[in-house]
């Protein structure tokens, strides 16, 4: 194994002069699942958006180990170069599946789109791939021609995950993938994610405010507060023995049943 997959240094971002990220730094290794927890407004989603290129940071570097050209600082690329270099190395799972899917097109088309984007032009193979991915995310392949708007929330989220993984990315960014789902559906989705991450040797950055989700999925945990990373370490270590007062508060505020 070579170096890290992702290195972030001194990342700063402010909205209208109000800081959202202050000097954020992190390393992520291939195949690693990193959870970022923190309350609303702590900068978790902004961090994901910076990595995904939806938001331009003011300062700092985001170096990513691309398949095409090795380590590249993503903040220095324009959109066209970014797409060319990054290709399908990076996926993004939205909290709301409606943001990441085309609801008016069939499930098969939704999985096929990234393949078409990557230049595949063989209908039969695209369809076969879509079918096998539906099975992998536990959706009946018979529903390949159904519209996602007729799917349940949990199915939509699984379809979104299939759409992101079909092109074999190295890193998937997930913004509260289990938000808005009921507890049993959440548990199934977490099971699925854990299995896929292990099978595909996938690196994941998972943003969540649910410490249970982090505990189940993540190798490492980072706690953010007001734009800073206040504590980080192995998930069990941080959750069992939180050092910072804010982390202690976070851990102690989880309902115990």
């Amino acid at each position: 194994m070579s170096g890290p997959l992702l290195e972030i240094d001194g990342l700063c971002k402010a909205y209208n002069g109000r800081p959202a990220l202050i000097d954020v730094a992190l390393d992520l290794w291939p195949g690693e699942v990193l959870a970022i927890v923190g309350e609303s407004g702590s900068g978790k989603t902004t961090l994901l958006r910076c990595i995904d290129g939806q938001v331009a940071p003011e300062r700092g570097a985001i170096r990513f180990d691309t398949r095409a050209q090795g380590m590249v600082d993503l903040t220095l690329l324009n959109e066209a170069r970014r797409r060319r270099l990054l290709g399908n190395d990076l996926g993004y799972v939205h909290q709301n599946p409606r943001d990441g899917l085309r609801l008016e097109l069939s499930a098969g088309a939704n999985i096929g789109e990234p393949l078409l984007q990557a230049g595949h032009r063989h209908y039969g193979r695209i369809r076969a791939t879509a079918e096998s991915w539906l099975a992998k995310v536990e959706i009946d392949p018979g529903r390949i021609d159904d519209l996602p708007k007729h799917f349940s929330g949990g199915m939509q989220q699984r379809l979104q995950i299939a759409r992101n993984l079909v092109t074999n990315p190295r890193l998937v960014l997930m913004d509260e993938p289990t938000g808005g789902l009921d507890v049993s559906v959440q548990a199934k989705l977490l099971d699925l994610l854990r299995r896929l991450a292990a099978d595909l040797d996938l690196a994941i950055i998972l943003v969540t405010h649910d410490l249970g989700v982090a505990r189940l999925l993540a190798d490492r945990l980072m706690v953010m507060q007001a734009g800073r990373i206040v504590e980080s370490g192995l998930t069990d270590q941080v959750l069992d023995d939180p050092h910072q007062p804010y982390t202690q508060l976070l851990v102690s505020s989880v309902l115990q049943l």
Binding site: A80, E113, L116, Q117, I126, R127
Partner: protein, 281 residues
């Protein structure tokens, strides 16, 4: 030629502005160039884009042909032909080989165009990505980045649902390997005629105020899948007038009992064949 109008109706400054857009369009095949569309004395949807392009490039020596759905004798074709005969005093014709400038709606003539001829298409919706993405800012970005993978989704959905591609007109094309282009609502049968045509092909969209072009001998590829290659439509019948088996046929109901007959939509092609064979049927 009627007095009181500038040559070909439009004022010289407007024509120059449109010619600049045409030049840019020719330089970047398939790219939609915005232009300051003028009010024309006919409603949007009747060919205001095509008529502005024609008005800007027509010269005193040009011979103009205007067709609508292939026919020279429909209202729209007759009116536009008369318009230029009156305001520019140019010669007009219905014969495809004799025309130097052809304005068309919904068809490309069956007779192969020659080098030196110019064909002007009337375009209702110039943006091929519009069905996928309603925002103009987003579609421009997609064009800039060559982000066209999603365009195949329409074909994918057709094949998944009906077993074949059902898009029959305005079939999307890739021009010169770079820009995705809507060929205006010509039938799929006409798409191969766009490819490497020796004639200059100009497209004008009046309501949307866009001009684009395919210069002579430029590749125009219709989108398809490797295992579902692009095909054109076929008829079981031949033309009931001239017997042509290779032209685009219109289905006409000819009496109150629903009797139907198929004839060439390109009236000039049909008449020429009839004259040549002495009226086969």
């Amino acid at each position: 030629m009627s007095k009181g109008y500038n040559f070909a109706y439009l004022d010289e400054q407007s024509k120059r502005m449109i010619r600049r857009a045409v030049l840019k369009a020719v330089a970047v095949p398939g790219y939609q160039v915005p232009f300051a569309g003028r009010e024309m004395p006919l409603p949007y949807g009747w060919g205001t884009g095509g008529i502005q392009v024609t008005a800007s490039i027509i010269g005193r020596d040009d011979v103009l042909k205007v067709i609508d759905q292939g026919a020279d004798d429909t209202t729209n074709a007759v009116s536009i032909r008369k318009f230029f005969a009156r305001t520019a005093g140019v010669r007009t014709t219905t014969r495809t080989p004799e025309a130097s400038l052809i304005q068309t709606r919904h068809r490309i003539p069956e007779t192969q165009l020659k080098a030196g001829q110019i064909i002007v298409f009337q375009v209702p919706i110039p943006e091929p990505l519009r069905w996928l993405e309603p925002r103009e800012t987003a579609t421009r970005r997609m064009h800039a980045l060559g982000d066209y993978g999603a365009m195949h989704l329409k074909l994918y959905e057709d094949i998944a649902r009906y077993g074949r591609v059902t898009t029959a007109y305005d079939f999307p094309t890739l021009v010169n390997g770079r820009y995705l282009m809507s060929p205006s609502p010509i039938p799929r049968l006409d798409n191969p005629k766009l490819d490497r045509s020796p004639a200059l092909q100009l497209f004008g969209a009046g309501r949307e105020k866009r001009i684009y072009a395919v210069p002579p001998h430029t590749t125009v590829k219709s989108l398809d899948f490797e295992d579902h290659p692009f095909t054109t439509e076929r008829w079981a019948q031949h033309c009931a007038r001239c017997g042509a088996g290779d032209s685009y046929l219109d289905e006409l109901v000819i009496d109150d009992r629903g009797t139907r007959r198929f004839v060439c939509s390109d009236t000039d092609y049909c008449d020429t064949r009839l004259a040549g064979t002495g009226g086969a049927r």
